[in-house]
Amino acid sequence: MNITSTIIDSLDFIFFGFAIAAVTSYIILAIISAFETVNYMKKNSFVNYTEILSSSISPSISIIAPAYNESLNIVENVRSLLSNHYVNYDVIIINDGSKDDSLEKLIAAYDLVKVDYLINNQLPTKPLRQGVFKSTNPAFEKLIVVDKENGGKADALNFGLNISTNKYVACIDVDCLLLEDSLQKMIKPFLESTDEKVIAAGGVIRIANSCKIKDGKLLDINLPKSSIVKAQILEYLRAFLLGRMAWSKLNGLLVISGAFGLFDKKIALEVGGYDTKTVGEDMEIIVRMRRYMEEKKAKYRVAYIPDPLCWTEAPDSYKIFISQRNRWTRGTIETLKKHKKIGFNPEYKALGMVSYPYWFLFERVAPIMEILGLIYFLILIFNGFVVWIYAISFLVLAYLFNVLFSIITIITEELTYHQYSKKGMGWQLIKTAFTEPILNHPVVLYAAIKGNFDYYFNKKIKWGEMTRKGMSSN
């Protein structure tokens, strides 16, 4: 009996301790984020982005957008990328062995012809299929279309790094809608920094489902009816407004969303480009770049821009949602495993002692702890060891904390970007804050556990399909 009691006490202590640590870390991150957001807003109110737009000496940027079977929206998406207000940029579309008529559509829409193009093959990639295309129409002179054999997103991005002649590269998902001022906002930290090198910058990703978009421009922001998408909106707001802002302040960002990130091309090439063997290439390259800079003992920073610059379509079915989160989990496991050397290693300073341990504990281990906790709870119920008053008290407390955290996120959004300003939107977000922990969180947990299972027992699974409905016709 004593042994059972000791085991139960120990497990109680572990689960309780883990929960307290997680909650404390969220609170600390939220407080740092709040201060940093206020600071950013104050500083940003002095910035004039118009001068950089017209300057011929503004640094050159390549937008690299891999596309695989994106025929439905490819023409519209490219038009959106070409309508950026920044002066010195080009758009490189990598048609990564699409089986549909993406290339034919692009050729017809943009008057493309095949050209001989200088390519510096610094990174190994799959070879060209039909070749490189440029437009005969001067209106589309910024556009470069590459048709290559399929090698996956990372391989396509590496091809983009090889073909780009510009100093900076913006790696994006082709279906993302970039706001017209996104590039000058993203380039700012690179140009502003004088005492440390900015190696990459990430932007906020917002969800565009149900938003009104025409000719590649965001006209009207709406909230979708689907509860799963609304839950994701809240989740993204929480992550970007109350999480990444703090990591940016601590210079501990380990991930820049693959949907939109700007990189110093030289550093990206020096570290060997994207890893084609992982499904979490967006996180992996940042960790590798940071590791490289730490090992060089160079002063550097991964910047973060809290402005809503990039809008994307979120999964609106549980199947696709689970597949996406499954992939994110596998990507996290792969990256943390590959770079385990930096974990808890004081040589890597904050990266090794703060960022890595946080990701390991609260991203990698958290779903496992959660599921183990649930199993443990079921065992306790089965054996009649549950003191229900304790269980219910903790459950209510956890739920209320979750809801409060989401409501603080909504308030932060109101005080900063105020994007969901239409009547009724506030109420809908609040409703979602109350329902999300019950409806959405179990699905997220399931996807994370499935991701763990697939990583260890189902190695064949790679990316998974994302069926696009398209944003342009909304």
Binding site: F46, S54, L118, L191, V396, E414
Partner: protein, 367 residues
């Protein structure tokens, strides 16, 4: 009801301490959620009302301003105009209204010129807005100082120059940049005097913005840039190199040649990049000696420069690097030897004139 509460309190007091903490915390969280919801509702309403108020006042001040501008003759102010001045002065005492008035003045000032613009400037003085802005220069809050300098720049108030230049090495970069913009916007190239005294680095972002402001002013007397090219502040040197490029300052060629041995490799590359732009032919021989002791970036810049500056005598030297391990150097060599032609858009054609040279296989031909 009272009995229910009494019973609840009694049963709570007999509970374990952890349960008590949980219940108290839950009550605190529930109350915070409730208060947050009220705050959120209030915040959304306030933002809507604020926008409405701002729009109303803006309309009102716009019509007052237009009335002021068209009410009197050029020389004297009539009673109606004086009334408007008094009214606006009274409104300017309120922070929100002052902000709207300044916005309204600026909006119109940017759209007009000549006498109308002068009249708005005059009104800026009469309504006491200038005193409000200058008094803020002494504020301990950096954002207040920066906003004041920006306002003085927008209204082109030159008489605050001496006071503002004292702040040129302000600890906050946002303030420093507002000062730099003030000086350049109002005093053109003379405003670049700050380059002699700045102690901090001028970021690339600041440099681009300042150059864009200067680009708007044509046919102005350019200052002597030699001292800045010898500055110990690398960012001043870098900024000056950009000025030299934009304004084709061949006169500073000796200083540029001296920069080939600057301690900062980025400055050395920028200096090499200028050789071709300014046509400094004597620099070619200097650079050619010991080019491979330089950094790879400098070597690339050198070969890029040679694409335009090489002479027939240089061909033997160039030819030796046909198979250089660096892609950009190889391409430059092939271009110099006229083996390939590369367009501005990076497309290329292989020329058939030199069969004895084998074209590098790394060139990816699509056709």
């Amino acid at each position: 009801m009272l009995e229910f509460f009494q019973n609840s309190i009694d049963s709570l007091s007999s509970m374990h301490i952890i349960i008590k903490i949980c219940i108290y915390l839950s009550l605190v969280l529930a109350s915070t959620i409730f208060l947050s919801l009220i705050y959120l509702k209030n915040l959304r309403d306030r933002l809507k009302i604020k926008r409405r108020i701002e729009a109303t006042y803006q309309k009102k001040y716009e019509s007052d301003l237009i009335e002021y501008l068209y009410a009197g003759d050029d020389e004297t102010e009539n009673e109606q105009q004086q009334k408007i001045v008094i009214y606006l002065k009274k409104c300017a005492a309120n922070r929100l209204k002052r902000k709207i008035i300044i916005g309204t003045f600026l909006k119109l000032k940017n759209d007009v010129s000549g006498e109308t613009a002068d009249a708005i400037q005059k009104l800026y003085y009469q309504t006491g807005l200038i005193e409000s802005a200058t008094s803020k220069l002494k504020s301990k809050k950096w954002d207040v100082v920066a906003k004041a300098i920006r306002e003085l720049t927008q209204f082109e108030i030159k008489e605050t120059h001496d006071e503002i230049i004292k702040l040129v090495n302000h600890p906050k970069k946002q303030v420093r940049f507002e000062i730099q913009k003030y000086l350049v916007q109002l005093f053109r190239f003379e405003g670049l005097e700050f380059l002699n005294i700045i102690e901090n680095e001028l970021s690339e972002w600041d440099q681009i913005q300042l150059l864009e402001i200067l680009n708007k002013f044509k046919n102005l007397q350019l200052p002597d840039m030699s001292d800045w090219l010898r500055s110990k502040n690398d960012s001043v040197v870098s900024f000056t190199l950009k000025l030299v490029r934009i304004h084709n300052q061949f006169g500073v060629k000796d200083e540029i040649i001296a920069l080939f041995n600057h301690s900062n490799p980025e400055i050395r590359v920028e200096a090499i990049n200028l050789v071709n732009h300014l046509g400094i032919y004597e620099a070619v021989a200097i650079l050619k000696t010991g080019v491979f002791e330089r950094t790879l970036e400098e070597q690339i810049a050198f070969f890029k420069m040679m694409e335009e500056m090489s002479m027939p005598d240089d061909i033997e030297f160039i030819k030796e690097h046909m198979n250089h391990k660096n892609f950009y150097i190889r391409i430059s060599v092939m271009k110099i030897m006229n083996l390939i032609t590369v367009g501005d858009d990076n497309t290329f054609t292989i020329n058939n004139i030199a069969e004895e040279y084998q074209i590098n296989t790394n060139l990816t031909k699509a056709s």
